[in-house]
Amino acid sequence: MKRSLLHSTILYAAVIVACALLVFPIYWLFITAISPPDQLRVLPPRFWPEIPRWDVFGAVMRDRPILLWLGNSALAAIGSVILSMTVSVLAGYSLSRFRVRGGQSLGLFILTAKMLPATLLVIPLFGIFRTLDLIGSLWSIVLAHATLIIPFTTWMLKGYFDTIPRELEQAAMVDGCSPLGAMARVILPVSTPGLAATALYGFVLSWSDYAYARTFLTNAQTNWTANLGITTMKGEYISNWGDISAASILVALPVLVIYLFLERYLVGGLTAGAEK
């Protein structure tokens, strides 16, 4: 269908305005980071600094333990993703391929577990981790984040395995593979895009957590995750918005990059990929 000139002008204008409005807060974070401090507290606000201060990222990494916090976030996220993926690849495959008794209700339970309020689970976990002497340790976060990740990854992977034709592993078994061998050699390689998307999504869940880190890590500053560290910067008497913004960009960057990879999986659904 051909569109009139007026129609397309309106369409483009609407798209540009919508994008600009919705992305503006991220732009503003960036501008705040690279503006010299004396240009932040001025009216009218500057929408582009005269002399951008590009060294701010290096400076904030020197002045604050940002790298340590980012490292902790990465350790926690990688740990909880490995733990969650290990159990949920097996469980997702089982739920997709076998008619196990209680599988249906386990599936429903997992779906319900996604609805758990973190503020409820954090109370008994606090008690359990105190008893196990894990408070202040990153291990508490690895376990706590697994509670966030496993319900998602198991369900996503089950859905993904459902899209892969059973004939694939049946053929492999006819060729002499064991059921586990067929899964490991045929299904998992075909599932790489799904596994990657799922693992990255798990990573984002762990990376973005605040509630668990706030509760379990407060007494050991060297184990703070990046999100927790950022909030302590915000809480200072007069917030140094330039430094906070620079640090925030460093924290948000990994998930923004992951998002660029994840986007087509989200919009296109997790259904494509098996035919290749």
């Binding site: 609407a14 798209v15 429903l108 577990a113 973190a118 008994p124 919009v267």
Partner: protein, 301 residues
């Protein structure tokens, strides 16, 4: 893996054992870190516990926490705040999300870039979203004060975080910005699953844009619309990070939702039993809501 063992499991009569075997690690882990803690929660909600340690002796059974809860004005205030927040944030997330999805679902140059951009806030961690909006709503040099004065909405700078109504509004704005992309992602997926033929047939029959929207698009989106609505409402209902970091539940409890109240009671006043009781109530609401959508849930969400 020993060959005999695998061969055994390959036999159709034994195959379901493999199913259980593969499920076992997940069941074990979920049992340890989700189910057991949940049981502990329910258990301590019936005790007068201050600081939870599991190696202490169990306190006597009491329903005092729940009795106190239902007679406490704070609880009803938090429930009301939560309800207001859920309704306002979900409504705007929907209007914005559906609007942007319909907009970028049009065919135009740069469509994929536009889709990438409008869903970007979804990827921003909640704490970072709070940093952005806390600064934009800064009481003296925040961008919002300047814009609102320019637009003539206010005469002088507003201290957004000391006025109850203003703080509630800032929380809403932050949550809407963080939450609408999820709606647009879901709606786009839904829009793309509607066959083009429907629209062509409608055009042949002479339906205009509005009629196509009302008679094809909206009804086709209904199932995914319902699920998305429940997911967004539950997200707002349970959210902790945004409100806690932005306002801490204040001022004057104006932004104290049930989640914030649970956390404050548990880790501010160390009333673990009382806090667990609030949490259990929250959980029951979540379960009822998720049950309602269960029948319609697509597998992949």
């Amino acid at each position: 893996m020993k060959p005999g063992f695998s061969l055994d499991l390959a036999r159709p009569s034994r195959r379901h054992w493999l199913g259980y075997l593969l499920l076992a690690p997940a069941v074990l882990l979920i049992g340890l870190i989700i189910v057991y803690p949940l049981i502990v929660s329910v258990d301590i909600s019936f005790q007068n516990v201050t600081i939870a340690r599991l190696d202490q002796a169990r306190r006597p059974f009491t329903t005092a926490n729940y009795e106190r809860l239902f007679t406490s004005p704070d609880f009803w205030n938090a429930a009301w705040i939560t309800l207001k927040l859920v309704v306002i944030v979900s409504l705007f997330c929907f209007l914005l999300g559906l609007g942007t999805a319909l907009l970028v679902n049009n065919k135009f140059k740069g469509q994929s870039l536009a889709r990438l951009l409008v869903a970007l806030p979804w990827a921003v961690p909640e704490v970072i979203a709070v940093v952005i909006f806390a600064w934009m709503f800064d009481s003296s040099f925040g961008l919002m004060n300047w814009i609102f004065i320019k637009l003539g909405f206010i005469d002088t700078t507003v201290n957004w975080f000391s006025s109850p109504a203003a703080a509630f509004m800032v929380v809403c704005v932050t949550m809407i910005w963080k939450g609408y992309p999820f709606v647009s992602i879901m709606m786009l997926a839904g829009l793309q699953s509607i066959p083009e033929d429907f629209y062509n047939a409608a055009r042949v029959d002479g339906a205009n844009t509005w009629q196509r929207l009302v008679n094809i698009t909206i009804p086709s989106l209904m199932p995914i619309l319902g699920v998305t609505l429940v997911l967004v409402m539950l997200w707002v209902f349970r959210d902790f990070s945004i409100i806690y970091v932005l306002t801490g539940g204040g001022p004057l409890k104006a932004t104290q939702t049930l989640s914030i109240m649970t956390y404050e009671q548990a880790f501010g006043f160390f009333k673990m039993g009382y806090a667990s009781a609030i949490g259990v109530i929250t959980l029951i609401v979540c379960i009822i809501a998720s049950r309602l959508m269960m029948g319609r849930a697509p597998d992949n969400i």
